[in-house]
Structure formats: structure tokens, C-alpha cells
């Protein structure tokens, strides 16, 4: 029997958390985050002129008796927003001494559990070169075990293609919502454009970059023959201390670039090395970023 992705102790701690978003998004009544959109909520928001076709139940009849004019009461909407967790399952995720793929699955499972406990609609969407079959569940912790089974059955495969996946995502999920992307963001093509595409479509983004220590600071020295895990391309080179510093600088610049794209679109970015325990990563950088609270 495979080992569960998260143990009970972590799950108990996760029950205190809630997935948070910043933008006002339309959605069905029943959520727990307020929206600037008026609708069928409980909290009074404002009055406006009555127009034909408005709901007569919302008319302020006291004002009509005093002023002989029809005013309509508007209420603040607390919509139910779909939470979509995109998990990178490309071949590059299984490189490194500690697997980024396992780390990403654990992270996705934790966020899924937080959402299910708070009765959010959860969609687990794996991707690599295209979108794979998704797992969708709404509300209730009893849905967590199927989600765990789904994540446990995932296998790394394919080559990352963020652009294609973004297009497919926008067409597959027209309702705007919260998009949490768990990936190493090591697409050989630039991933700025696909991320911007998602933001422009109206999704609120939370980008979680996962890297192994070897991805950021390779420990090897001397002559190396390197093979790209996704493309199989090989290169021979001589690597030394100076080259390592340059490599790390390039990696950090790439991570900063992804952060800029997220923050520019009112999203959030969290970087997570796999050497940090998953519990520490959730209750540390993830909580600090405001993605969960």
C-alpha cells in the first residue's frame, strides 16, 4: 500500500486554513469571500433606482411610502469561486535528488484539503504539454480521499508547454476563478506570455515555483555531459565554481521574472525548495504570501 501523501497530523493543522483571493469575482452564492458585485447576499450594500424587471422583493417600500418613488436595495455578494489547482506533471519535475513531482503532489493535496474543508469547489488539473484529465469536487472533506487517489495515480510525462496549456485552460474553464499553478516553470520557451494570458482572461493567479537544490545550485564540477529530462538534448561542458555562480544568478533572475509577472497581475508568487519540509513550506512562505490564511 503506497504511503499517503499527507499524514493526519498535517491534515489537522490544515483545517485551520482558508484559501484566500483578492479580486472580486462573480460566482454562485454561498462562498466565504466578499465581492464588489451586488447580488443575493445578506449584507446591505446600496440603493439604486428601480427599473422594470427588477425583483420586487428588493424594493424599499418604506422609502416608497415616504417619497412615492421606487428604490431598490442592493446586497453584497459572497460568491462561491472555483479553485483550480494546476499541477505540472512534465518529465522535468522528476529530476533532482528529492523529487519535485512528489513535492508538487503533496502541495496540491494540502491545498485541495483546505478548499474541501471550506466547501470550495476544487479542480485538480494536471498538465504538461497539454491539459490532462482533471478531478473536480465541490465541498466536503469526504471528497478528499478520491482526490488523494487521483494525485497518487499521476505519473510524470511529456514536455512542458505553458502556452498551449493556457489556451486549453481558458477554453475549458470559462468561469473566472482562482488558478493555483504548481510547477518548476522550466519551460524552454518563455512562460511570461501564457501566464499573462491567464491573468488577462480574468483568473486570479497564485504561482508556486518548486525547485530542487540541484536546479538552483548544481553541486557538480569538472566535465559534465548533461541531458535535458524533457527533450533528451545533450550538451557537454566544463563546469566550475565561477560557472556555478553564473548559473545560480540566471536561475534567480528567472524566478524573479516569474514573480514580477504574478505581482503585475495582482497575483502572488511563492518559491519553494524541495529541501524544505512540506509542512514548513505551507505554514511559512505560503501563509506569508496570503494565498492561505
Amino acid at each position: 500500500m503506497p504511503e499517503p501523501l499527507l499524514d493526519n497530523r498535517i491534515l489537522e493543522r490544515l483545517e485551520r486554513l482558508t484559501i484566500q483571493w483578492q479580486n472580486s469575482l462573480p460566482g454562485l452564492v454561498g462562498g466565504h469571500n466578499t465581492s464588489r458585485f451586488a447580488g443575493g447576499g445578506q449584507e446591505f450594500l446600496d440603493h439604486r433606482q428601480f427599473h422594470h424587471g427588477d425583483d420586487l422583493r428588493a424594493v424599499n417600500w418604506r422609502a416608497f411610502l415616504r417619497l412615492d418613488r421606487l428604490f431598490l436595495k442592493m446586497f453584497q455578494l459572497e460568491p462561491r469561486i472555483p479553485v483550480r489547482i494546476l499541477v505540472d506533471v512534465s518529465k522535468s519535475m522528476e529530476t533532482g535528488a528529492s523529487s519535485k513531482f512528489d513535492y508538487a503532489r503533496k502541495l496540491a493535496a494540502a491545498l485541495c484539503y483546505v478548499g474541501l474543508v471550506r466547501l470550495d469547489s476544487i479542480c485538480l488539473q494536471p498538465f504538461s504539454g497539454k491539459l490532462h484529465d482533471a478531478f473536480i469536487a465541490s465541498g466536503g472533506r469526504h471528497r478528499f480521499q478520491p482526490a488523494m487517489n487521483f494525485l497518487g495515480a499521476l505519473q510524470p510525462s511529456g514536455q512542458t508547454n505553458f502556452l498551449e496549456c493556457s489556451r486549453q485552460f481558458c477554453s475549458k474553464y470559462p468561469q473566472r476563478g482562482l488558478a493555483l499553478v504548481i510547477s518548476d516553470f522550466l519551460d524552454d520557451r518563455d512562460c511570461e506570455k501564457p501566464i499573462q494570458y491567464l491573468a488577462d482572461f480574468g483568473h486570479e493567479l497564485i504561482l508556486m515555483q518548486v525547485w530542487a537544490d540541484e536546479d538552483r545550485e548544481p553541486p557538480w564540477e569538472g566535465e559534465l555531459e548533461l541531458e535535458d529530462a524533457e527533450t533528451g538534448q545533450k550538451v557537454e561542458l566544463a563546469f566550475d565554481r565561477d560557472a556555478r555562480a553564473q548559473y545560480t544568478a540566471a536561475f534567480d533572475a528567472h524566478a524573479a521574472h516569474i514573480r514580477n509577472v504574478a505581482e503585475r497581475n495582482t497575483g502572488r508568487y511563492v518559491g519553494m525548495p524541495t529541501s524544505a519540509p512540506i509542512e514548513q513550506a505551507i505554514f511559512g512562505p505560503l501563509v506569508k504570501s496570503g494565498a492561505v490564511a
Binding site: 522535468s92 519535475m93 529530476t95 533532482g96 519535485k100 518548476d184 522550466l186 524552454d188 530542487a212 540541484e214 536546479d215 548544481p218 557538480w220 564540477e221 569538472g222 566535465e223 559534465l224 555531459e225 548533461l226 541531458e227 535535458d228 529530462a229 524533457e230 538534448q233 550538451v235 557537454e236 561542458l237 566544463a238 563546469f239 566550475d240 565554481r241 560557472a243 556555478r244 553564473q246 548559473y247 544568478a249 540566471a250 536561475f251 528567472h254
Partner: protein, 637 residues
Amino acid sequence: MNFLNLGLGELLGLVGAISAGVVALYLLDRSKRNQIVATLRFWTAADVRTELKHRRRIQQPWSLLLQLISLALLLTAIAGPQLGIFDATGSDHVIVLDTSAWMGSRSGQGILMDQAKTNARAYLRSIPRRDRVMLVRADALATPATAFESSRGVLDSAIQQSQAGASALNLSQALEFAERAQKLQSQRAGEIVFIGAGRVTEEEAALSALPANLRVISTNSTLENVGLRKIGLRRSPSAPDTWEVFVAVRNYGVRPQSVDLGLQFSKSPAGSRRLTLQPGAEEQATFSYVAKSGGFLEARLNVRDAFPQDDRAVVELPAEASSRVVVYSDEPQLLRPLFLANPQVDAVFESPAKFDPAVKADVVVLDHFAPPTAPRTATIYIQPPASGSPIPVRSTKTGVRLDTWHPETTLGAGLRTRDVTLESAEMFSPGAGDIVVAETTEGPVIVAHGSEPKQVLIGFHPGRGSMKYELATPLLIANILRWMVPGAFRRWEFQAGTVGTVNVPVEASSKPGDIKVLDEANRGLPFTVDDKDLRFFSGAPGTVRVQMGDREMVYSLTLPDVGEAVWRVPATVHKGVPRAVLGDAAPRDLWPWLALLGGLGLLADWLLYGRSRAFRLRAAGAIAPQWKRMTQWRKAS
């Protein structure tokens, strides 16, 4: 060069094999590694040299060359090469270093042994370095300290470790040993060098049968010394609580000496005597001292001479042992003369009504009395009642004639009587293992039971009738007590003497099988017994006990043995330290320099080409210009 007796070709082969291993390890260390990475974008973004398809296999040839040269230097250092002409025609000398007790005597600021060591080192410096030397330490035995050795360091260390011993010099044996060693082991015999004071026995003082190649390097010593030769102690035969002490003092010098001899027992003065000793004379002083308790007896000569080691001797004396005898009798006056005659017997007389089976005594005497519970100690029954006798009473007769003694038994040794008729006597029926000591015409009247507790049954009263006036009666009681409590009648003799060979007079009755010679740890020492003497050897100070039947002699061999005379060296013998050989072109060892160079080479390789970051940083600073040029070349290529 002597590298495991390998020839030049074999050595080169070994160097080649090790070099091949080093090259293989070098290439393995610098071979490329295959790695799978998540992406190549940052590798190409980093400014690293790529496309090494036509790279050279050996990336750091200077590093490899440096390693190979360093290893070759280290291997050559192990071979121990020497610079200079190796002359194998050196001589083999034997230094006989006097380590006898006299070498511990004072001379100036130090002792004679220091002078001898200085002379030995001076002799070593005077001979060519290619000559080999054997060091022999000579006292009562000649002991080789080294084999024939060319290393001056080893010889110097052996000389330094030599110490004055406790025995006298046996010069003839030492010279004979040196001669034999040269004959058997040397390639070209050199000199036999005796270094020391040459204090020997009087027989060896005029030793003239000497090796032709003998050289003598004498140490200057004063001749004046007065010392203790021997201390003897024994209990006085007439008064057992009195010790008779004999002290022998000798004047080894050439002038008459008057010395005070003091005796202390347990730090209390026990006697003193002033002795006047002629040159070479030995005087003996006798003391008597009453002491029942044990303690230490110390003899001391109040004299200041060059050799204080023989001015004091200490002997440990045991407490006087006596056996306790409890006599239960209604007529103690008849038995009192028999038991009180022996001073080593502490006799107590009680009436039979006071009998206690747990009485603390070595021997219990029951006169006409047999208790229901037998005593737990050795017991003498005198005419026991037939009902309580431990050995059955066959019959009781009057007017029987005592006609047979058994002198072959321990109890009957030396006993005999003539025309003795016993007024009343019990005849016993001895069992198997019982000893019959005396018999009448009607049967045994004295029987002994040998198993513990020992028992002797006397079928008549020894204090009555005609036996009262017989000499055999007290002897019988003495034999019985000695048989029952042998330790109380043991004769002790103590002697403090010198180490070496000890001669002990042996009584005619002693059998060699009954003699034991034991050291302090109760281990047997080898000894020989000839006609009248027992002889054993003790090379180190200590205590030796000699047991012969009921006689035990304790030898406290703590006095150093000093020769009585000084060896008169014949005029024909070479004397003094020879003049040093000039132009001694001894080969010099090169291995320290080769090892240093090899080590420095490996250290430099590690600093310049090794993987240690800290050292590489320092090295990078030192070779920065060259590194910059190489980087530019890499970029260009």
C-alpha cells in the same frame, strides 16, 4: 640503496606500476560525468565552455607530472639511498660496559656509571662510522644489549639505558663472551673494549689470560669503602625469645678504618659496636636482642664513603610462634614437667570438669578422661576409658613389658628404652592407617591416628612408674607435639646478604627432594645440592626462602655485591680512548630530503589543482594572471 632487497629493474617496475595506477586514478577523477537535468537553459545562460567533443584527455598535465615525480621521490626515499662511498670493510668491535654494583658509587658530581657512559660514547666517536659495535653489559652475567650495530643512534640509546646493577663483575666471563661473539658473528674482528672500574673478586684481580685485541678504558674511582657483607639471625637455642645477630663488615679500601655499627629493631636502638678494620679485613660483630614480637631489624654503618648502598641492611623478623596446649587432668603435677620443659609450648592445666570441646588450643591432652564430644583439635589421650576411646581398647593388663619402639615412624624417631615394665597399660586394636609407635608383649600401647584432627593414644601414664625416669618420655612428648604442630617447632634463620650466588650448608639428614627454594612470589628457584652445600643464584635484590624439613632459612639479598679487589690491568693491554679517525667519509642518508621534496610536491599539487575550496581560493590569488590568460583562451576556443 636497500629497498626490500629489490634490484634496479624490479624497483623501476614497481615505480611504473604505481605510476600507472596514479594515471588511471587521475583520468578517472577527471573523466566527464553524465547528469540528467530539468532544463539546459541556465547552463547555456551561464558562461561555461561547451562543446568539448575534441577536448584533450589530460586536462592538467602539470598536475599529473607533479604527482608522478612526487611519488617517485617518496619511493626512492623509502629505499634509503646514501650519498658517498659505501665501504663494507669496517671492523666489528665489542664494548663490554661494566654495570656491576660498584659502578653506582659516587665519583665527583655523579656516579662511576656516568663516567663509563661518557667514555663509551667517546670511543664510538673515535672509530670509523662504517665499523659495527656490539654493546655488552657486564656484571655477574654478561648480557648483550645490542647486536653488531652500525647505527650510532641505537648504540647511544643502549649506552644511555645502561644502569649499575646489584651484583659483582665477573670479568673473565664477560671477556670470554665478547671473544666468542666476535668469533661467531663478526665479519672482521675489531677490538674488545672494557669500560668500567674493574672491581672484581680477589681471584680475578690478577687475571692475565686476556684477548689480544683487548682495550681497557678505566674509570677513576676511589678505593676506600667499608660495607656490610652479611647479617645472620637466629633464635637462641637456650632462650627462644632471644635473637642472636651476627653482622659481617668488610673494609674494601687500602687504609685502616674505624666505623660505628648500629643496630635498630623497629626503629629502637638494639645495639652498637665500634669496629676497627684493617685493609681487606672482614670483622664480625655479635649481638643478642630479646624480642617476641616481629619487626624490622636494621644494621647501619655510620660512615661516609663513596658507596653508600652497602652501609645499610634491613631484615624483616617474624613474631615468636608458640603452640598452646590445654591439659585436662586430675594430676597435673605429673604432667607439668613434660609440657613445660619446651619453651615453645604454652601449656595450661585444667580439671576434666572444665572441659570445653570448642577450646582454643593447638593440642588438647585428656588424662584418664574421654569426653562425649571429641575436641576439634589435635588430641593426646592418656589411658582413655575403654568406653570412650577413639581407638578400641583391646585389654588392660598390669606388669606388662614395653619391649618394642618403632623408630622408623616420625613419632618414634630416636626413642628406645630398656627393661621397662608398665604397672598398668591399655592395649589398643589399631585400625588400617593407624600408626603404632610402641608395643608391649601383649599388644600396641601407643597408637596414632593420622587424619585430621590428629590423635595419639598412650595406653599408660608417662609420668608414673618406671617411665617417669626414662629419657624416652620427654622425647616422646616432644615428638608428638612436633608431629601435631610442626610450624611451632620450625627453626628459623635469617640472613641479609649480597645478590649473586648463595651457598647454604645442608644437614646430612636432609633429602634433596624435601628442599624448596622459593622467591618472593613463592615461585621455585633453580638450585643445586652437592655434598654439603645447597647453591642458588639470585641476580636481582629480593628475598629467597630455603625450606629443609623443620628448618627454614630466609635470605634477604638486598646488599649489593662488591668485588673485593681492583683488576690489575697488564701493561701490554691497550688503554684509553683511541685517537679519532680523520677523513671518515661515511655515506650520508638522503631519504629525509627526498621525502621532504616528495611531500612538498604533493602539497603543491593539492594546493594548485586540488578540489579544496579554501586552498583553491588562495591558490587562485597566486596564479591569477595565468588563470586569466587560460580563461581567455577557453572563451576564444
